[in-house]
Each structure stands twice: as C-alpha cells, then as structure tokens.
C-alpha cells in the first residue's frame, strides 16, 4: 500500500514540478506488477521493481500514454507463489489494472497465470521457465530467455569448437533441474553426447566427487556444462580448477552477475557462458542494433539507482516497453486489443534481444539474443 502511495506522490510531485500537463486530465492507466522484491529471489525482483518505477516516472514526465498518466500498482510477494496469486486477484478485482508486468520467478508466474487468463488481461512475465509460454496461453507473454535457449547456445558454441562429448553437472534446485532436462533434450540435435550427468544439492559445499566422476567418464569428456545459479556454480568452478580437468567449462546465464567472478576468483578465468547483450554493453560494436538501447538503459539505471545494472532489471524494461508500445498501437486500454498488439510486436529492440512475437511465439527471441561471453582477466569478454 505504501508503495502505491509513494508512487502516487511521486507522480503528483512530477505533475507539480512540470506544471499542468494534458496527462493529468483523464483517469490514469493502471499497470499492475507482482514482484519478489524481498525473499530469496530479491536479487531478481529488486532491480525489476526499481526499473519499473524509474521508467513509469519518465514516461509520465514525457506526457504519459494516449494522453493519460500511467499508474504502477506494485505488490511484493516475497517469492511466495500463494501470496503472488492473492495479489494477482487483488490487481484484477480491486485495482482494475489494464495489464500486468511481472512475476519474478517461474513459480509465482505459474500461480498467477489462471487469474489473468480468466480476466483476459495481458500478462508479461519476467521469469525464465519455458512452461510459461509452452504451450502458448492467449494472454501470457514473457521477456527473458529460456533455459532451453541457454543449452542451445552452449551446444552451438561446442559444435563450432568441434567438441561433442559433454559432462553435465546441475543443481537440484528449480532452475538447475529445469535446465538439465532441456539440455538433455536438445543435445542430440547438436550432435552432442552427454557422457556424464551429475547433480548436487542446494547447500552442497564440495563437488569434487561429481567432477571426478565426470573426468573419469568412460570414453573421456571434452567439455563440462554447469546448470545452476547462486553459489553452487562458484564452488563447481573452484573445484573444477582444483582438479585440473583441462577442458572448457561452460556456465549458464544464471551466473551473469559480478558476484560470480568475485566468488569463483581466479578459477573463473576462461569460463564461458551465454548472456544478454546488456552484460557487455560497452563492448558491442556500434553497428549492433542493441547497442543504443542497452547503453541508454545501463547509464540511466546506474546513474539513478547507484548500483550496477543487471540483466534481470533489463527484462522488466523490455516487458514494460513492449506493453507501452502495444497500448500506443492499440490506441485503447481494452485487454484483448492490447493483447493483439503485443502479439504483433515486430523488431522491438530490447535489452534481452530483438523481439518478434507471433500467435505461436509469446517470447519472440531467437538464439541471436544470447551472446557467448568468456571471463578474461576478471571481467566479461564478448566472443561473437
């Protein structure tokens, strides 16, 4: 509640500062958000919430949308799917939002989908799981890359290097388990043989037994892929260096933050991972279509929030902008017409990639959205 009040005050203050604007004349367009600002997924939800507040203020200062102000109604589910669903119902029934951006984790998103589908309100999720958009649900979209794409991008890179025998090591948490399934599924299409499939628990502190098994896999191993986020990959990377496996190590987009390099230390040198262009904004060539967008977002976020930009906040930027453009194109706040307009998004350049939605693709990203990155001298280097 206090957040809403705060947002309203901010908007009010903006209106006072910038004098009477046409945006104040009509009732505001209400956009809902349920994010995991606190709790275990706060490192995802916090930058998402900051991004939404930042950009909604800016859009209002520039005159709003369709001549109306935007109003953000944001709730914090603390990472709890039950609370997310309660807030979703409140957004639909009490707050009467016209569209929804958010759902930080796959768990909270899946809990909220039925509410928005039933109310026929467009819902743009910021979570990674592929089950959000497969099968396609009429009103549900998402902006982040899927774990399946991460597997494909890694395997594509392996194929380029002529490496086919891969050892897989994954965490048993939701993200690691899901990515493991996807990697096992798409491996044959890239001519990859998974010669070892090892797992570790969420609190495990030593993965040398698993990595030893991978090293001794019958027939030998040519590369190792680690599917997980958090501290697990940092320990795997350290153990990997300790054992001296001498083959390339690939991590997932789940470790695309500064803290991974700090935790893994010198062992992180040479590790490769697929990640969004935002991670290497400065290194993009000027000809890259995403260069301008990611640099603008990065500079604005870092100068106003006093913290380094993350790809997670970028997903919120993409979701909000896709929605705003769709409302402008639809010229209406009717749920079905906004949905149709979101679906017609073509060539939208976001921080996560170039988005081309369709009736059968409610994410709209292809493999070009992922960049292959290598850690060199303690920092990210763009490879392709």
């Amino acid at each position: 509640m206090s957040r809403r009040l705060f947002a309203a005050l901010l908007v009010g203050a903006a209106a006072l500062t910038f004098g009477p604007s046409p945006a104040g004349a009509q009732a505001p367009i209400r956009i809902g958000a349920v994010l995991s600002v606190t709790g275990p997924a706060s490192f995802l939800g916090d930058p998402e919430a900051r991004t939404l507040r930042l950009y909604i203020d800016r859009i209002n200062q520039a005159g709003g949308v369709l001549g109306r102000r935007l109003e953000l109604v944001l709730y914090d589910d603390g990472g709890d799917a039950n609370r997310a669903r309660t807030f979703a119902t409140r957004l639909v029934e009490d707050d009467r939002v016209v569209a929804m951006v958010g759902g930080t984790t796959t768990g909270t998103t899946m809990a909220m989908i039925p509410v928005f589908e039933e109310a026929r309100i467009p819902f743009i999720s910021l979570a990674g799981g592929i089950e959000i958009i497969e099968p396609v649900k009429p009103f549900t979209f998402k902006t982040p890359h899927t774990d399946k794409m991460a597997c494909e991008k890694i395997f594509e890179d392996l194929r380029k290097r002529g490496l086919t025998r891969v050892g897989l090591i994954s965490g048993t948490g939701g993200f690691g388990a899901s990515m493991r399934t996807q990697c096992l599924r798409v491996a044959p299409a890239f001519g990859i043989t998974i010669v070892a499939d090892e797992r570790y628990g969420p609190g495990d502190t030593d993965m040398t037994p698993q990595l030893t098994r991978i090293r001794n896999a019958p027939g030998g191993v040519q590369a190792v892929v680690n599917a997980d986020f958090g501290q697990g990959p940092a320990i795997v990377t350290r153990n990997f260096a300790q054992l001296g496996l001498g083959v390339p190590l690939y991590q997932s987009h789940g470790v695309a933050s500064r803290s991974f390099i700090e935790l893994a230390g010198p062992a992180a040198e040479g590790v490769r991972l697929p990640a969004a262009a935002l991670l290497v904004a400065e290194q993009l060539p000027d000809s890259d279509p995403q260069k301008r967008v990611v640099m603008e977002y990065k500079q604005l976020y870092e100068s106003t929030q006093n913290q380094p930009v993350s790809t997670f906040g970028g997903h919120a930027y993409d979701g909000l902008m896709i929605l705003i453009e769709a409302i402008r194109r639809a010229g209406s706040t009717d749920g079905v017409r906004i949905r149709d307009a979101v679906r017609q998004t073509r060539g939208f350049i976001g921080t996560g990639g170039v988005v081309n939605m369709s009736e059968t693709d409610h994410m709209g990203l292809d493999l070009s959205a992922f960049r292959m990155i290598e850690i060199r001298n303690g920092t990210w280097r763009l490879l392709d």
Binding site: G201, D206, P209, T212, G230, Q231, L243
Partner: protein, 290 residues
Amino acid sequence: MDQLLQFVFSGLTVGAVYALVALGFTLIYNASDVINFAQGEFVMLGGMVTVFAVAAGMPLPLAALVAIAVAVATGLALHRLAIEPARGASAVTLIIVTIGASILIRGLAQMVFDRQFHALPAFTGEEPIRVLGASILPQSLWVLGGAAAIVLALWLFMERTLLGKAVRATAANRLAARLVGIDTTLVLALAFGISGAIGAIAGILITPITLTSFAVGTLLALKGFAAAMLGGMGNPVGAVVGGLALGLLESLAAGFISSTYKDAVAFLVILGVLFVLPQGLFGRRAVERV
C-alpha cells in the same frame, strides 16, 4: 585408486567441519542435556565476521580473532540471556529456546551483513597439491590440521586442567558436582563459550573453500547433529568419528553410487547404524534404575 583418494580427500575436508560442529553439540549437551541448535550459527558468524572485518581493512589473523570473540560473546549471551533465565525448564523447552535463538541470530546477521555469498582468500595459496593423481587444496590441510589441533587442545583441557575436570564432573553427574563445590552455572557458560569458539574457528577455516552467507548455519547444524547422533551424543570421540564418517559417506556415495541420492545414502546408513546401536557408535548406554 586416484579416484578413491580424491573422494577421501573431499570427504575428510567436509567431514572435519561436521566433526567440529558435532563437538560443539557434545560440549553443551554434556554440561546441560541441551542440544544447541544455534551451533551452526557460530560457524556462520565465524565466516561472516571475518569476511566483513577483512573487507573493512583488517589483516586476516586479527579479523579471525575478532570473529572468534564475536562468536564467544554470542555463545555467552545465548547462555546468559536465554538458557540461564529458563533454568529448571525441561531439556525440550531449552532446545526450542536454542532454535529460536538460531533464527534470531540468522535474522540479525542478514540485517547487519547482507544476503550475498562471500569468499575469503585461502590462507596459503590456491595452488592444489597433487598426491598420487588426486588433488587437495592447501586450505583443506588447514581445515584438517585446525580440526586436529582443536580436538587435541580440548582433550588436554578436559584431562589436564582443574576447570576441565569440573566440566567432566558436571557431565558425569550434575548434582554430585554441585555437592562437591563445582559452580555448574559457570561450567555451562564455559561450554557455550567454547562451543562458540570452536564453531567460529570451523567457519573461518572452511570459508575459503565453501563460501559463506548468513544462511549456511542451518544445514551445518543439521549435518553436525546427524554426525553427533551417529557417533553417540555426548561422546567427544564419537563426535569426531561421526563427523568424519558422515563426510566420507557423502563423498563416497556421490562418487561411487549416485550424486542425486548421496544425502539419502548417507542418512540411510545413519538410520541403519542407529537401528542396531540406538546410542550411536560410542554412546553411553542409558540405564534407568528403578
């Protein structure tokens, strides 16, 4: 062969930490029949305080001393503010008090420090030592050596000092100890203080290998408790053997059977042992005289 050796190195390093946590359980259990579930938080405090003291510019040895002091103070405060006022309550009530204390300490750590994971630099380099095709980190030797030193120091204290004998007397029979003039309240406070120090040292030694965050204590307390039960609650030798055995079981199960079910395998073995020997490997037989 090199494979087996690698699993043994891994198991012993992890097991040494379980052993130290189990030792902390044992000390307090002997002095008071209380199972202190805040034991894991001492390990967390050891690691986190050191990390933040180093980040604030302190040299590592000084930061480690500060961390041990903080953990000892926390142990003493836990005794003075939570256990002592509830004196006379049943052991179960006191155990619940320690669970509450562990949640409180974790919550405070989350506010005072942060929610991120942190690492410490290894004490003597990161270059692994190769032994017969297996590799071990120098830091693992620190963990093993540190654990051995703590066990030895504790043994000397218990066997060779008057205060240590008072602790053993209290463990053997509290009423009799009080009758011969031993201040059992002091002994209990001492047990909490020493447990805090042991936990903190364990935390400092393993942080360069395992990383630390405000939440690492919960799992360590659980594993340390399982180790103490396996060895026989109340027996210091049992705590050490139980800890090392649990660590070895986990790594051998992950290495030879299945990494998915390694925890299940370890706990199945513990259940099996307790089924045959309900008092644990080295536990005293509880005989009720009627």
